[in-house]
Structure formats: structure tokens, C-alpha cells
Amino acid sequence: MSQVEAMVSLERLTRRFGDVTAVDGLSFDVASAELFGLVGPDGSGKTTTLRMLAGVLLPTEGDALMNGTSMARNPESAKPDLAYMSQRFGLYSDLTVRENLHFYADLYEVPRAERDQRMERLFRFSNLGPFTERLAGKLSGGMKQKLGLSCALIHQPKILLLDEPTFGVDPISRRDLWLIVHEMVAEGVTVIVSTAYMDEAERFDRVALLNEGRLLALATPAEMQEELKGKVYAVVVDRLREARDRLQPLHQVERAAVFGDRLHVTLTDPSHAPVIETTLQDGGFSVRGTDRIEPSMEDVFIHHVSQAGVL
């Protein structure tokens, strides 16, 4: 990515709280109109990173340039370009859907003339149109998230930062949320989304995998999965946990785990596939099937953590 295109640029961005380094020297660029994922478990530094990008928390070291503005030196002047939806977005539960949107429009000084048109558009994407007079406190969890997102978008920001927008939202409402996000990307907005759900990583253009404040990997989801292509197998076998314990110590096996009624086995090399059946048969197990499967993002994450020697 060339320098010119970078809408967001992190330079050794670091944040410490006392002895704890929550974010440890993150450097990467996000291009204009890119849909970028910060993916990692709780405690991996996602929220702290987003709060620094949003200008609500100053970095201890390093910097983030948001559309060219330094968040270490000048966070206030970047704010008109930014929208940030935190995990506890401040909706007023005793105001209606429409009143909440007007409140944020006032806050961001959206001109009256443009306001109605933007609200109609947001209602259309969010399917909130039929509920404009409902109190925000009476909305379901998924609808609240959609309203929060609509409020964050009322001032047409260049960069949208979303902290775990799908947390606690059911799969049906999640689809509507993604639809709104993609509408924004299609209009040229740069979007950075954090999630602890590995399976959501496949939706992003590029993904930064975070663990304990550090960058484990940065690539497109396809590139990440490519590394494990041909190495992940599902095995249907009896005495699952015993079978897992038999396979795990083998040097050809990076990891074996029980999933419901089968094992998932990650090999260190695709050529080792036969070792699964021979080992289990020698151990007196009855193997009912061995199938090569697509590596999941969870497999990818565990692979990188193993490689980084964190285990």
C-alpha cells in the first residue's frame, strides 16, 4: 500500500497502564475505503487500540495518523473525520429512535437541511424505519446496535471505528449490521472493526490478529488460510479424547482437538496425512472417516500463537 492511500497509519502505537502493556508497538496502515478487522480474544488490546485511534485515550508511545492527523499531538482536530462506536454506546433509553438520531445530529452539528435525507437513508439500511417512534430502551439488543451505528454515522465520517459491534447480537441482526457497514465502505468510508469471534474474520479485506497487545499476523483472510491449506483434517473415531491424546504428541501433529463428535487435527505438513489413520489403527481405534477440511480462522489463530511460541 502506498503512503498516499493510507487513511489510518499506526506507528509503534503503544499504551501502558502501570506495569501492564495493553498495546505493544503496533505498526500498520489501513487504506482508504478498506474494511479492516482487529481480531483477537478479550485482553488482546483491541479496545485500547480503538480508543487511541478514536482520540479518547492518548498513546504512551508511538502515534496513529488518522487522515494525516496525529492522535498523539492533535486528537481534537481529527474528530470531525471520525465516528467511534464503543461497546457501551450512549443511547438515551428514554428517547425515541428518531430523537436519539436528532440528538447526535445536533452534537455533530449536522445542518438541518441535510439531516432528514441522511436519516431516511440510515432507516432504509437499518430496517429501523417502522420503529422511529419507539423508545430506545424498548428495542431488542440487535436493534439497539443498529441504532447506535446509525447515530455514529449521522455526520458522515471518513473513518468508522466499531468496537465489537456484534457482541451479544443474534445472527439475523448481525446480517443487518454488516449490511450497514458495507454500505459505508461502498461510499468510501474506511472501517476498522474489532471482534473476538474468529469466524467473523473472513468478512474483512485484511485482518490484524492480535494476542496480548501484539500483532500476531496481518494479511487477507484467504492468505491466512492458505498457510494451513491441506493440513487440517476432521476425523470421526471412537473414544475421542483418548484418540486426541494419542495423536497430540506426534511431531507431525501441530494440534489435535475434540469438536462435538469428531477430532480436528492440524498437521505440520500436508504430506503427513497418512499418519493419522495408521497411528489410530495401531492404537486399536476404529476410524470411521478422515476428511480434509477448510482451515477455520480459529485454526489460523492457534497456529500463529503456537508459532509465536506463546504456548
Partner: protein
């Protein structure tokens, strides 16, 4: 797993009405001892109401059920000692040590005095926290807290365990470790109910029950659910995914279109005949049509398709 043993949980025509609203509508299923049974469904589908009836917190309006051999209506009080419960908002005390939490729960659940030490050691060992027994619970990493919460929920050796999004937000390695404990309990005969919105958790269950608008709309293993919904699905590249989804809304032969990153996933009646229809619908809207690939639906795709087929989620 022996299919012949008496069911650990049996529910027949279970129904709950609140005024005119039917929250749970004639639900029937059996759960085998040692089975890990997942409960899925959009918000408002009736999962929580069903679980409240199974745990004796809410009497059914109609129908019947039993948990660990106890009737959920007439023996509701006795059920509470026969179950363990753990939710994502666990009830651990942050300002107590690990050991103190275990002691607290063992008192709460009325574990025999004679067995308390033995059970305490078992819980600490199982959760892998023996060496950390004197640490404050609030200082532990999330994955450890979740294992401790599980240990506390099973300290009284309940035959039935209820988990509500137990591994939400935890790193994948801790999650696998958590599920290993569940499998260990399952092998020893504990029956586990898991309710979740996340397919990552659902994948660990033996069977999944999908609810929508109070009704049970599917019940099978994760693999069978995926295989059963062998509806053809295409992944399509285009230059404007949101507009492409809208453009395919009423195209003939298209059942559902959803965004997946910059691509779209389209459920169709027939993958061969749908291709030209989709291409002309997209081109008619001035959209570019890139590669079209046949794909296998994910568990989440299956979930959404089944909910739509059953009339859509309550919010829609």
C-alpha cells in the same frame, strides 16, 4: 453414548404463554445422559423461557417435562439441587480468592461437610488452578475465570448442567481447554445444555436444537444440519455487494442473498439455472459480475436459512 438409557431430560408439548403471547409453543425433545445439547435461535425465540422451565424457575402453561427424573412442575424445588448453572455474567466474587469462591459455592449448594475438601481439591485440579488457589479471582485472565466458574457450577456434582454462552470472548486455546472439561464431564455422564448465538460454540455440541418464534424448527447434529441443508449456494464477486444483495431480492430462483465481505452468498433453487438469472439481474442494475463459485453453507448460513424458512425472526 448409549441411545437406550432413560433420557436425562424429557420435554413433551412444553408450552408457555404470557397473556396472548406464546413464548414457547409445544416443544418436544429428549436429551440422553452425557449428551451436550446446544440451544440456538434469534433473540425472542423462546430459548431462555424454555431453560427457565427446565430449571424449575417458571411453571409451564401446558405440556410436561422432567430433568434428572424430576417433574419440572411438581418437583421444581428439588430440581435446583440437581442442576449446575453458569452464564457469561458469572457469579464469581472478584474480591474473593479462588479457594474462597469454591468454598462459598460449596456452602451454597449444600455439599456434605465430609466431602467438601475432596470436592474443593477436585474443582481446583479440574480448573488447573491448584497453584493459584490464593490469588484474587478478579485478577485472573478470562479463560481461567471461566474454568473456575464451571468448577463452582459443578461442585455439587449435578447430573445436568446449563451453560449460557460460556466461552464468549475467550481466546481459542482457552476455549478448547474449557470444552475439554465439558467433554470430560460428559463422559462421566453429565448432561449439558448450552445456549449460544455463536456458531463457534455450537460446533462443540453433540446435537443442536434451533428455535424460532417459540417453536423447535430443527434438531440434529451440527454435521447433519449442514448436510441436510444441501441447498445450493453460490459465492459471487461483484463491485458493490450491498447493491447486489438488493438487486437479487426478487430474482426468480433466488431464495436469499447476504453479504460476505466484499462478496455475496446467494442461496438458490438450482445452481446451474440460477447463474444466468443472477448475472443478468446484476448487470441490469449496472453491477459487475465476477467469479461465481459453488460453496458449502456454513452453520450460520444454515441457521439463517432455517429461521427464514420458518417465517423469519421476531424482529424482522
Amino acid at each position: 453414548m448409549s441411545g437406550r438409557a432413560a433420557p436425562a431430560v424429557r420435554v413433551e408439548g412444553l408450552t408457555k404463554c404470557f397473556g396472548d403471547f406464546v413464548a414457547v409453543d409445544h416443544v418436544t425433545f429428549d436429551v440422553r445422559p452425557g449428551e451436550i445439547f446446544g440451544f440456538l435461535g434469534p433473540n425472542g425465540a423462546g430459548k431462555t423461557t424454555t431453560i427457565k422451565m427446565l430449571t424449575g424457575l417458571l411453571p409451564p402453561s401446558e405440556g410436561s417435562g422432567s430433568v434428572a427424573g424430576l417433574d419440572i412442575e411438581t418437583e421444581a424445588d428439588r430440581i435446583k439441587r440437581q442442576i449446575g448453572y453458569m452464564s457469561q455474567l458469572f457469579s464469581l466474587y472478584a474480591d474473593l480468592t479462588v479457594e474462597e469462591n469454591v468454598r462459598f459455592f460449596s456452602g451454597l449448594y449444600g455439599v456434605d461437610r465430609a466431602r467438601r475438601l475432596e470436592r474443593r481439591d477436585w474443582v481446583l485440579e479440574m480448573a488447573g488452578l491448584t497453584e493459584h488457589r490464593r490469588r484474587l479471582t478478579g485478577e485472573l485472565p478470562l479463560g481461567w475465570k471461566q474454568r473456575l466458574a464451571l468448577g463452582c457450577a459443578v461442585i455439587h456434582e449435578p447430573p445436568t448442567l446449563f451453560l449460557d454462552e460460556p466461552t464468549s470472548g475467550v481466546d481459542p486455546i482457552s476455549r478448547r481447554r474449557f470444552w475439554d472439561l465439558i467433554y470430560q464431564l460428559a463422559e462421566a455422564g453429565t448432561t449439558t445444555f448450552v445456549s449460544t448465538h455463536y456458531m463457534e460454540e455450537a460446533e462443540y455440541c453433540h446435537r443442536l436444537a434451533l428455535m424460532n418464534r417459540g417453536a423447535l424448527i430443527a434438531l440434529d447434529t451440527p454435521a447433519a444440519l449442514r448436510d441436510g441443508l444441501r441447498v445450493p449456494m453460490l459465492e459471487i464477486e461483484t463491485n458493490d455487494a450491498p447493491r447486489a444483495v438488493a438487486a437479487l431480492g426478487d430474482a426468480p430462483g433466488v431464495r436469499d442473498a447476504a453479504m460476505f465481505g466484499r462478496r455475496i452468498h446467494v442461496t438458490v433453487d438450482d445452481s446451474i439455472t440460477a447463474r444466468p438469472v443472477i448475472a443478468s439481474a446484476l448487470e441490469g442494475h449496472g453491477l459487475e459480475v465476477g467469479d461465481m463459485t459453488d460453496i458449502t453453507p456454513s452453520l450460520e448460513d444454515v441457521f439463517v436459512a432455517l429461521v427464514r424458512r420458518a417465517g423469519g425472526a421476531p424482529d424482522e
